[in-house]
């Protein structure tokens, strides 16, 4: 359904001294209808950047995105617009989509207005239904974003993303400000829509328990690359980074990695990006690592068997 090949993204900043920072490098990804995929990984590893490329908010430096066989990258904005309602992102920062000067009702109505085929009455009925769907009520509708609690605003953004009945929904930390009960309510609601309409769901999250509970397939990212992918990653993690992540979650122990001990990778280092922290590293890890198929699991570490 949605397929991306070899996506790369590099942020450039600075006016005089130009600094380049690779955020995503060489990600291949494919989502099927009705599937739930969780993307987990270190903070700053490029998950949000990847999500924005998938929904065409950022233009990849190289690589291609296909939607139902149509190539989206490079397509003119006008042609691409037809697909935009079908692929939606719930961004990590609500301010990316809600205008602080608008009531939240207006922000949720905006996709319908842009669409141009709905009457005023239809729009208002649709908006009311969406508010109810995410567990908000009339009392929240007429407020401005800063007049809502963190979790309420997050739900406004979810409502907006659902407006045009997407086929793929990418949720970037979309439930991070909800209590566990409301979070379960939202996830169940999305799952219901998934069953009704074959919606593909992508959850980007740091909540590993939630990821485990909802996903059919898990992608683990590290330093802009996918380092592990499979259906039973949480039961049998293979990559050393995944294992470290799961151990930390299991024991919430207070043994911390002291940053002073972390060496920095030399310039031009092209070996395994986890080399810096890996407990199992050897000299062989200084060579670039490829994603390998280890009995149905993809792992980017030569040691995994």
């Amino acid at each position: 359904m949605l397929k991306a090949d070899n996506l790369h993204y590099v942020y450039t900043s600075g006016l005089i001294k130009i600094v380049k920072k690779t955020a995503v490098c060489g990600v291949d990804i494919e989502f099927c209808p009705g599937e739930t995929v969780a993307i987990v990984g270190e903070s700053g590893c490029g998950k949000s950047t990847l999500a924005k490329m998938l929904v065409q908010q950022l233009v990849p430096v190289s690589g291609e995105v296909f939607f139902n066989g149509m190539k989206l990258t490079g397509m003119s904005w006008k042609n691409r617009r037809k697909f935009m309602g079908k692929i939606q992102l719930i961004p990590q920062n609500p301010a990316d989509v809600v205008d602080p000067r608008w009531t939240v009702e207006r922000s949720v109505a905006e996709p319908f207005v842009i669409c141009g085929v709905f009457s005023k009455e239809e729009i208002s009925a649709n908006v009311d239904a969406l508010f109810a769907e995410v567990g908000l009520s009339v009392e929240h509708k007429t407020r401005y974003p800063h007049e809502l609690s963190g979790g309420e605003l997050q739900r406004v953004v979810i409502a907006r993303a659902l407006a045009l009945k997407p086929e793929l929904l990418v949720c970037d930390e979309a439930t991070s400000m909800l209590d566990v009960s409301v979070q379960a309510f939202i996830v169940m609601m999305l799952k219901e829509i998934q069953i009704k309409r074959d919606l593909s769901l992508v959850f980007i999250t740091h909540d590993l328990e939630a990821a485990k509970a909802v996903s059919d397939r898990v992608l683990v990212m590290y330093a802009g690359e996918i380092v592990e992918e499979g259906t039973d990653v949480f039961d049998r993690p293979l990559h050393p980074y995944t294992r470290a992540l799961l151990d930390a979650a299991r024991y919430m122990s207070l043994e911390v990695v002291v940053p002073e001990e972390i060496g920095e990778l030399p310039d031009g280092f092209s070996g395994c990006p986890y080399y810096r922290l890996c407990r199992e590293r050897t000299d062989a890890c200084k060579k670039p690592q490829k994603l390998r198929d280890v009995s149905g699991r993809l792992v980017r570490c030569w040691k995994s068997k």
């Binding site: 270190e42 209590d179 009960s181 207070l254 940053p259």
Partner: protein, 312 residues
């Protein structure tokens, strides 16, 4: 008790809106001891952040406040705004819920993190800068010398969150009000936050930790308070609370964690404008009886407090 750092008595906050008055905080009464980590968990939209803002005196301009907040015996809810500015940042620091709103988008992150140190510790600009770099490095925002000079939009969500934690813990305050400090942060870095909180706490700082992260609250806290629809409905020491939550809402909330299969509490969240009469949880409570339509008392059982008729 001389050990009490923060005392909140009968605090209520209401906010008028077009649709009616929001009863954001109703009759909040609790105290936090020195060095104590006091966690506030509970429903989204139930008034946790507003309570934190009421203590910091950073409420929305149209909000109505009543009640009393005392910090080390000084009634900070009665201070003038000018006097309060000195308290803010130095004695009480806050880590706001939304880093995108709390950070100034036009100022370098390093400058913002260094600001409270310079303002309250009286150290030089160079000192503040090197301390900032050390703090950023501690939170794995590397290389700190480069990152320090970047603007908020160049950070990922979790990085900005960690920069906020660095800023909040920088100036040796006595109380930190941390609103969702771990959201958007991966588990490995969450441990760094946990460790810095414990270090700051062992240096004598107390915490009001507002969080949805039940695991983090469990690992960090001495006591837990649970908020529902504007009211604190249970306060208990951590161990007994997680072993046996007393209030039906607390029980239902802990039953909804992903580990237990993600079962949402049946029924809609209550309106904060037309709050349910009597016990605010009664429309969703499996144990409700007729008397639950009148206000339940706050009952004390072995040092725990619970607002429920079942225990009266």
């Amino acid at each position: 008790m001389s050990d009490v750092l923060l005392k909140v008595s009968d605090v209520s906050v209401t906010i008028p809106t077009e649709q009616g008055t929001v009863h954001a905080v109703d009759d909040a009464t609790f105290s936090i001891n020195k060095r104590e980590v006091f966690s506030l968990i509970g429903e989204s939209g139930s008034g946790k952040s507003i309570l934190g803002q009421a203590i910091m005196r950073l409420l929305p301009p149209n909000a109505m406040f009543s009640g009393k907040v005392e910090l080390e015996g000084m009634e900070i809810s009665a201070l003038s705004e000018k006097e309060m500015q000195k308290v803010r940042g130095k004695t009480v620091a806050s880590i706001a819920q939304n880093p995108y709103l709390a950070m100034n988008p036009g100022i370098r992150v390093g400058t913002q993190v260094a600001e409270p140190m310079q303002a309250h510790l009286g150290i030089s600009k160079e000192d503040a800068k090197s301390r900032t770099c050390r703090a950023l490095k501690y939170f794995d925002i590397i290389p700190p010398e480069v990152r320090e000079r970047e603007y908020p939009f160049q950070y990922s969500g979790g990085m900005l969150q960690r920069a906020m934690v660095a800023m909040g813990t920088a100036a040796d305050p006595e109380l930190i009000i941390a609103d969702e400090p771990t959201k958007g942060v991966d588990v490995l870095k969450k441990r760094n936050i946990a460790a810095i909180f414990q270090k700051v706490a062992s240096d004598g700082c107390a915490f009001l930790l507002i969080t949805h992260d039940v695991g983090f609250a469990r690992a960090m806290s001495d006591r837990i308070a649970v908020n529902y629809c504007g009211q604190i409905i249970e306060i208990a020491e951590k161990e007994p609370f997680f072993k046996e939550p007393l209030h039906p809402y607390s029980q239902a909330l802990l039953g909804a964690v992903p580990e237990r299969g993600m079962h949402p509490i049946p029924g809609p969240s209550p309106s904060m404008i037309e709050v349910p009469e009597g016990c605010r949880f009664h429309p969703r409570c499996p144990h409700k009886t007729d008397r639950c339509l009148t206000n339940p008392p706050v009952v004390e059982i072995n040092g725990r407090f619970v607002r429920c008729w079942m225990y009266a």
